[in-house]
Symmetry: C2
Subunit: 201 residues, 2 copies
Amino acid sequence: MTTSGESTENQILIAAREVFIVKGFEGTRMQEIADHAGINKALLHYYFRSKEKLFEAVFSEVAANLFPAMKQLLEAELGIKEKLTFFVKIYLKALQENPFIPSFVINTLNSNPESFLKYIKKAGIKPLLLQKQIEDEASRGMIRMVKAEHLVVNIIALCIFPFVARPIVQNIFEMNNEEYQIYLSARETEIIDFVLKSIQA
Amino acid sequence: MTTSGESTENQILIAAREVFIVKGFEGTRMQEIADHAGINKALLHYYFRSKEKLFEAVFSEVAANLFPAMKQLLEAELGIKEKLTFFVKIYLKALQENPFIPSFVINTLNSNPESFLKYIKKAGIKPLLLQKQIEDEASRGMIRMVKAEHLVVNIIALCIFPFVARPIVQNIFEMNNEEYQIYLSARETEIIDFVLKSIQA
DNA sequence: GTCTATATTGTGATAGAC
DNA sequence: GTCTATCACAATATAGAC
């Protein structure tokens, strides 16, 4: 975009990210990335050998940033309720800033499930910790007993869906773009209420 | 697949559906569809002029079948609680039979949002009816007051997510395929409980 | 209607000048 | 490092025999 102070390599990475995230690997043309970066096609191959390698560079960065927040959710030194509330807030904020990431991940996930496994492993997520905490608080009557694999999936599903299905939702409920932004903001308390109610003792 | 009693045109449609749904438009090769159908590449062009036209034929059928169930949710002659319970059951069953449809729709949605609008229009979904019913039952103290655009999104999100993010969920919670099937079955009551609790007076 | 062979176009990748 | 020009191949699409 801007021929700013960024190094060429970084410009390429930024441009590649923009295009890959919206169009996916198969739908992306090297030419389009070059156009976005304001440079020539050949330079892409000079810095990154191939389309695959360039994609890998983009994808690994995206994937690496996916799970830290989730890790935080699972391992923070907070009560369950505070933990979940905190998570929804930071997660929705991250989605607002990167609204196409979920669709991108879902796309890539289908065509190439294996490539994800290493990032999940690397992230070192330990859902057993959350399960322990749930059992602990449930035994003290603070919340009711629930299963971590449902709770976590529920929260993330509720956060992500309005982003991956935006055109459908927006159209069915007849919202314009501004109204959809308001709708998205409103979902924060909606989701938090919903989730807290589901673990109420 | 089998050179069965199906007409060639239908064999092609079936094969095209299999491939397009998993790989998307860009990721699909005409050759692969021909292989699936057990015929020659040229025949695809004989029956359907182009890849675009063939995709359109597949997609329109998928899209047309997407919303009837949703329409049923909104317009059935049932109380809200029964309506939601019923919907979750039939929707999850439909997903089990077509687990790749949601990812396919999300993919296509990103690259081609406009093509959806006509199907949504054609389906004639009227969320206002559901909103009316909610307000009615809420005023009689049967449920608490909620917004249709959150309730509907919540339910569908909870149903769909385990299908679009299966590799991640399955890996993080360390389930094998059999365990994941059990997990998916267990979500039915999980989701119903979750949703009913959220509209409890 | 179905096939083989071929044309045509699009796209990733490289060579080579500057 | 960056560009222009070009290669090589893959993929869609068509021609024409049967």
